[in-house]
Symmetry: C2
Subunit: 143 residues, 2 copies
């Protein structure tokens, strides 16, 4: 737990961009939010980090693919410790698109991202081009 | 891990509504998604379950309070086991509103929901009236 973070207006510690990417890379599960039929939904996904973007597999017929070809999304990873009442989260905001390039799909197929939900084949890759990556961590008053 | 769940079209096991509420009640952290300035965002919150609705505290000036007085939101809790490559999630879709009734606020103040982020006082309660509560769990093929 970092103790000397700068604080935001709500008293949360602010994680650096590098720290945010470290946590995005080490998390095995993230949560994707997008707007479906006018309302937000959240779905967990097993993701990877490819350069500065987030990538994950999906199946034909997914709600995400049914949407715009360029859909605004949010993506979040977090971690917490119930006993210490502490936690952190990283929020990515970006634009999702289906990866169309065959060479790129081949490359992504080798980066080792496999969805745990494996009864249906997830042959499509979605890339989130990130325009904002921010992270926060709870900071408790000194006792 | 339940092994005889009905499956959805994507090969995920479908949790019953009662099971969804059990998991909502036992989770200490959930994630709220809503649309802010036209784009989805996700924020973790410490929540409670009050009857069939989700409640949590927030501070004056929060993005959520700045929005509509009746905002469509999504709320998610999940859990996973990296070693088993398994996980589950419960997704709530609903309408968020600020609790205005003083008696209700007093009652909620006693249900024992305290945000871990405690450097700023969170004196407002938000209630999510749920119109959809669904849950999924990974199911692996028999080996």
């Amino acid at each position: 737990m970092t103790t000397s973070l700068p604080l935001d207006h709500s008293g949360m510690g602010v994680l650096s961009r590098d720290e945010c990417y470290d946590r995005l890379r080490s998390a095995r599960v993230g949560r994707l939010a997008f707007v479906s039929d006018g309302d937000p939904v959240i779905l967990p996904v097993n993701h990877g980090v490819d350069g500065e973007s987030i990538v994950f597999r999906t199946a034909p017929g997914s709600k995400l693919l049914a949407g715009d070809s360029e859909l605004r999304v949010a993506f979040e990873v977090d971690g917490y410790d119930v006993d210490r009442r502490s936690g952190w989260s990283v929020l990515v905001r970006g634009t999702a698109s289906t990866v169309e390039d065959v060479g790129e799909i081949r490359r992504l197929n080798r980066i080792g991202v496999w969805p745990w939900a494996d009864l249906v084949e997830r042959t499509y890759w979605i890339r989130i081009a990130c325009y904002s990556v921010t992270g926060r961590e709870t900071v408790h008053p000194a006792r």
